[in-house]
Amino acid sequence: MNAMLPAQLTPESFRRYPPQARSICVEHLEMLHQLPMILVPLLLREAITYDWRFPAERRELDRQLAYLGGLSKPQLDALLRGFSQLTLSAELAKSEWINTPSVFIEQLTTHLWATHQMDIFRAAAEDYAAAWQAANAQEPAGRQRLGIVVVGQGVAATDYPLFRKLRPKGVFFTNVSAPDGLQALLAKVVARASAQAQPYGHWYIDGGSAEAVGPAVTAVSYSGLESARKALLNRMQGVIESGSGGPEALRTLLAQMKPQDVGLAADGDAAVLGHFQLSLLTEGSGTQIFSTTFAQWAAREALRRAQPATVLVRFAPRQRQQPMNELLSGKHVSNELDPEGSLVDADMAAYYTWLNQQRLSGADQAAFLGWFENHNQAIAIGPSLPHGTVSSEPATLEQILTWIS
């Protein structure tokens, strides 16, 4: 097989793409012809799943392609010089980068590390990202973003110092009264979703079983994906037991899986969420076996991709540590839980959720609340709240939600 170059792409090259993905690639074909070889699969990885992308992602890809298409050839050459300096092996250049860009990029990563080109790639990507961001202001947040993280389910008492990384950013409340705290927080999410309905604009992620929230809120839970997780683990185990699968085979399997392979929705409006849920399990390390990892990664990906106005993440106790191969095989798995360790996991995850929210537009106006479930500690961050403050005054969650707005 000869190496295929971007300049050789034709509309026929995208015949195996879903309809909308094929359409945008054909629309921007002339621009793709002019790009360095390495950049094209990176764009195609985003484009090939266009039909199942969230609205915010589609808008961002549309703008990015339009931005590149609006540059002259000399401007493109100057902007993308770093990518042009990278070299590929002959084998990699001949690989199937059009129809399986994710697999190609896995192999490209290995190649860049092995040939000491990763730093060049990082620099090229940073230059490109800086230019793109300078040319395209982020989509403004429609309203103030709100992030809520609930930690500590199942912990009766602890002396673990919660929210240490977040305390300098806001007010640490130590006398919170919240007899129906979770319901109050869920009601807040539902109210925001009702007041400003938008597809995938309001999320509820639960590391255990999800409470009912209605159709205006996108809900994802660890328990809700149990059958998909088991189906995925069975497939992974099959690769291992075949004796022919190393890490590359496993990664290829994961990259090529479809939602219907593990019983997730693949058609109609539900396909967008089905593909997202599958990606949580196939792209997130540890998400298949630890509920705390699942909830953290799901929140990260929801924020990064859907850029929602509201996210509520509730952590639940994960299972105790066991040998990884046994956890993945599903054999001899104990149901013993580790609430204390899960609290520590969730505490760090709360900080990561805040960091990921801060990467979105309107960060300086965003609100964030972390609550130790069924306890009296909470951290609140908002534009009108002081930083690095501790309050021992009595407060309810409803009051704190008002103060951070």
């Binding site: 990082r122 990892t293 540590q321």
Partner: protein, 392 residues
């Protein structure tokens, strides 16, 4: 592929970030251990230190496969996780605060690079030998040492070939013996592994991968002869341990007692559970590694074959991704290649090593082998690093 995100990549100067990390470590250590600024670079002339060394020095190298970040170790908020490193070992050590790894950030290939002094470029998950001669081959060939004078104790996920390269001038017959305690334990459990599962944890980076074993890996029967350790005693002791790294240190101590190799390399790996995304388990791994390091140092001081003649080096193979790099997911991985994931530290302790000294100039992880060469008296002719003058 998180490292390949095209958006949100922040611009940062690698040199500035690495230097800031070094300053942070240095300032923390001064505060924690009472070291003064006057000790910085105030090393004694080489001739005086050389005179202090006894004949036939030994070296023990301890690496952490699964790097630990500053936030959880040498930064002020991390000190609670490493009390032994800070309070017990640091005051006795020369501490390099800025050790840069410019190679591939995968544990086997990075550890192999530490052992060869060359940034190896093979597939991290392949069952291959390093392509450049290892420190064990230089040591044994140059100094005409017997096979039992160089040993490696390592996790079982792919490290079985680390003791010997495929270099045509060295290679077969000149390498170190390799003990993979987890593999030994699994192979000795013919009746099942119940009660030992906690010691048989796998690589969390590539959980299903178990490469074909080969090379200088030691099997149970040989171990029995070598360490005077029956399968029953080994199994019984293993049951009392909490983690794979504790099993590795148990074997290393037995090796020191029964064989007393002059060059012993121990790779700890519990920290790498961070790949599972469970922060609490990552912290547990750091605390365990901290405790095991002082346990190894205590063993060196108490073993007549080692006391007073052994230099110990402790270093992570590399760091982990920073919280602020949007291409990664914080502590969980080391995929971005950002400055924090490439910047780590090294401690050196032993006779002739200046105590409580912080060196914050940048050095490279591949400088270890040339430094060992200067200390032990061999010539690592293919290594690309440089001997560290503060030590060797």
């Amino acid at each position: 592929m998180e490292g390949m995100q095209l958006r949100d990549l922040k611009t940062a100067s690698s040199e500035e970030v690495s230097a800031a990390v070094a300053r942070s470590r240095r300032e923390f250590l001064w505060a924690a251990a009472g070291v003064t600024a006057g000790s910085l670079f105030s090393f004694a002339p080489r001739v005086l230190r050389a005179a202090a060394l006894r004949p036939e020095p030994k070296a023990v190298v301890v690496t952490f496969g699964g790097g630990a970040r500053d936030e959880e170790t040498f930064a002020p908020e991390g000190q609670e996780n490493i009390p032994n490193l800070v309070q017990t070992l640091f005051p006795q050590s020369t501490f390099f605060a800025q050790v840069i790894n410019k190679g591939i950030l995968g544990h086997y290939v990075a550890t192999a690079s530490l052992a060869t002094g060359v940034y190896e470029t093979f597939n991290n998950f392949a069952a291959v030998s390093p392509h450049n001669p290892t420190v064990f081959e230089y040591f044994r060939k140059d100094l005409h040492r017997r096979a039992n004078d160089a040993w490696v104790v390592a996790p079982s996920n792919g490290f079985n070939r680390i003791g010997e390269s495929d270099h045509r001038s060295y290679g077969e017959g000149f390498g170190a013996g390799v003990i993979l305690p987890k593999h030994l334990l699994a192979s000795s459990m013919s009746g099942g592994t119940t009660g030992y599962d906690h010691l048989l944890r796998d690589s969390y980076e590539a959980p299903f991968y178990t490469p074909e074993l080969a090379g200088n890996e030691v099997e149970m029967q040989k171990l029995k002869e070598l360490l005077k350790l029956s399968v029953e005693d080994f199994s019984a002791h293993a049951r009392s341990l909490a983690s794979p790294d504790e099993l590795s240190v148990y074997i290393a101590r037995r090796l020191m007692r029964e064989v007393a190799p002059s060059l012993l390399w121990i790779t700890l790996h519990d920290i790498d559970i961070a790949h599972s995304g469970a922060y609490s388990m990552y912290i547990e791994g750091i605390r365990r590694s901290d405790r095991l390091c002082v346990e190894i140092w205590t063993a060196i001081q108490s073993e007549p074959e080692y006391a007073g003649r052994t230099t110990m080096f402790i270093l992570p193979d590399f760091g982990r991704d920073s919280d602020t790099d949007p291409g990664g997911n914080g502590f969980q991985h080391h995929r971005t290649g950002d400055p924090l994931s490439r910047t780590t530290w090294m401690m050196a302790l032993g006779p002739g090593i200046r105590k409580g000294v912080v060196v914050d100039r940048p050095v490279e992880s591949i400088d270890l082998v040339p430094t060992l060469g200067s200390l032990l008296g061999f010539h690592p002719r293919f290594a690309q690093g440089k001997a560290l003058p503060e030590i060797a």
